[in-house]
Amino acid sequence: MTDRPILDVSGLTTKFHTQDGIVHAVNDVSFSLNPGEFLGVVGESGSGKSVTMMSLLRLIPMPPGEITDGTAMFDDQDLLSINGDELRKVRGGKIGFIFQDPMTSLNPVFTVGRQIEESLRLHKDMNSKEARARSTELLTMVGIPDADQRVTNFPHELSGGMRQRVMIAIALACSPKVIIADEPTTALDVTVQAQIIEIVRDLREKLDTAVIWITHDLGVIAGLADRVLVMYGGQIVEEAPVRDLYGRPEHPYTQGLLQSLPRLDQRGQELHSIEGQPPTMHVAPTGCSFAPRCPFVHERCIKEVPKLTEAAPEHRVACWWDTHKGEARNGG
């Protein structure tokens, strides 16, 4: 944990210029990722979790998107300001990406083997024979039987779970330092999701790749992540080691989310629910974006955006109110 972070993001701000005005998708987001660490990012749709990670590799369409502020230091380079050639070396080479939908993120007219080999030949200068051998090895690694046959298959010949394995193989191909996985199991059935999670768990032991795993499912990352970021309204509202986050959540939003999950000992009772709707993000935040739905809301929450502050060692929260003590946080 004392290692120098492999990825250090600071003050990232992304906006989208739409017909209905500016959408403030990501507002002043800062976080870091340590080598070999598994970082979970939780949030609902529209919370900015995907846009944050896409912005890092400048994968958002520009326009309408615009990264207006921030730095993302990776390998002594700022990913947000390096030129296109440098960026291409990072994408797929040093940082791998796994997308949500394996149906649409593979090219239907090329064999899966060729799609894995593409990045090997581009980034690693392998010849076709070496690349084929490596892609077979990768497919075996992600648990695809008869890999030497499967490399000649087209994506439509594989099931959803198999395709997602191919996506993982592509992301792993160039032995990246970081893999960003955007809801990689959301489109899959639970039994197939369990297979993929098992593979990821297994690969984590073997490789020392750092992983950022984006999800809306608090269950999936509970058993995988070392540390978790919770996002709401385009901001990080809480950041903590996984056991602290689930064991003693600090932010009222995190508390509400965990309480709204159905529990065994509360069958038949009303589920806890967070009233109201997520913010629309059409105006830049002037206060805490959760304030309209927050049961602990105070005057200050509407007027001032709370900054992430340390609530416990390694546990940071952006909230003016300490719900455990029932008093304002220091300085509040």
């Binding site: 639970v190 039994t191 269950g219 058993g223 709707q277 997520p278």
Partner: protein, 343 residues
């Protein structure tokens, strides 16, 4: 233990009571056509011989993976699909042979809430006309009375009655699902099929909609068939749960029994596939990981349909179709080895 959770428990002879819905050996095949002349070359056996009852006031959860046939079963029960074989009896009356006109007369009593609130509401109709349409169609009320009913329904599902003249796009996903629910309860139905009603919603909104469904069930004495792939939510809302795999039922039991003492290996695997939102539990929880994917329903494996993925399959499983039997009162399972201890 069952008594606490089954509403029929007040009646000591629960099985004697006439179920509101009785599904017997229900089958729904879709033809596979090929060639210029669209010759039928086979069929997708989406639902292949399913039997269960739904009692008044209860929620029957129907769980399964995609392609298991759970949605098709739900639609066939409401006669939104023509049934291939078997019967569906609603309140004692066989509805499978009824004409469209005859089914129409029953529509006010049985309704549906759809999965996708973005696709199931007409974008060109106002909320008032969406909710008011069933009232108009079935001549339940008109004029001022209808307006009042629409406002009453909106209030009932937790929406602002003054928004009646807005269009669906002006509402969020959770609010749209509330509109769909208001439409379903407009004619005071007795039975509602909820087809993945929360799957398209965010976590913080899901619990709002589930609470609403439960409130309405209590106040309007509704019976639900709650179709879902979310096992933890089904455990929360259902009284009894049926598990479907590749067009057939593999297990049906009161909810606590199904989760605490599952008899079918598929139920066990499904149960252990669901991640628990607690890192302490996750670190030590034993897992049953199934091999492979769900096979194609156009060519299901012989014998027990689960035998290709079953971690404890024996030779017999690929030959004999297991019988759908009641191994304990109210606990049904189709597995040759369900009562073999120790596996």
């Amino acid at each position: 233990m069952v008594a606490e959770f089954t509403k029929e428990a007040d009646d000591p002879a629960g099985s004697e009571e006439r179920p509101l819905v009785r599904v017997t050996n229900l089958k729904k095949y879709f033809p596979i056509m090929k060639g210029v002349f669209r010759r039928q070359i086979g069929s997708v056996r989406a639902v292949d011989g399913v039997s269960f009852d739904i009692y008044r006031g209860e929620t029957l959860g129907l769980v399964g993976e995609s392609g298991s046939g759970k949605s098709t079963a739900g639609r066939a029960i409401l006669k939104l699909e023509e049934v291939t074989d078997g019967t569906v009896a609603f309140d004692g009356q066989d509805i499978t042979g009824l004409s469209t006109q005859q089914v129409r007369k029953l529509r006010p009593r049985m309704q549906m809430v759809f999965q996708n609130p973005h696709a199931s509401l007409n974008p060109r109709m106002t909320v008032a006309s969406i909710i008011g349409e069933p009232l108009l169609e079935h001549k339940a009320s008109k004029g001022r009375e209808r307006q009042e009913r629409i406002e009453e329904l909106l209030t009932l599902v937790g929406l602002d009655p003054s928004h009646a003249n807005r269009y669906p796009h002006e509402f969020s996903g959770g609010q749209r699902q509330r509109i769909g629910i208001a439409r379903a309860i407009a004619l005071n139905p007795e039975f509602i099929v909820c087809d993945e009603p929360i799957a398209a919603l965010d976590v913080s909104i899901q619990s709002q909609v589930v609470n609403l469904l439960q409130d309405l069930q209590n106040s309007l004495e509704l019976s639900y068939l709650f179709i879902s792939h979310d096992l933890s939510m089904v455990r929360h809302i259902a009284d009894r749960v049926a598990v479907m795999y590749l067009g057939t039922l593999v297990e049906l039991a009161p909810v606590e029994e199904l989760y605490d003492d599952p008899k079918h290996p598929y139920t066990r695997a499904l149960h252990s596939s669901v991640p628990v939102p607690d890192p302490v539990v996750e670190a030590v929880r034993p897992r049953v990981i199934l091999e492979g994917d769900i096979p194609s329903p156009s060519n299901p494996p012989p014998g027990c349909r689960f035998n290709t993925r079953c971690p404890v399959a024996q030779e017999r499983c690929s030959q004999d179709v297991p019988e759908w039997r009641e191994i304990e009162p109210g606990h049904w399972v189709s597995c040759h080895f369900a009562d073999t201890p120790g596996w």
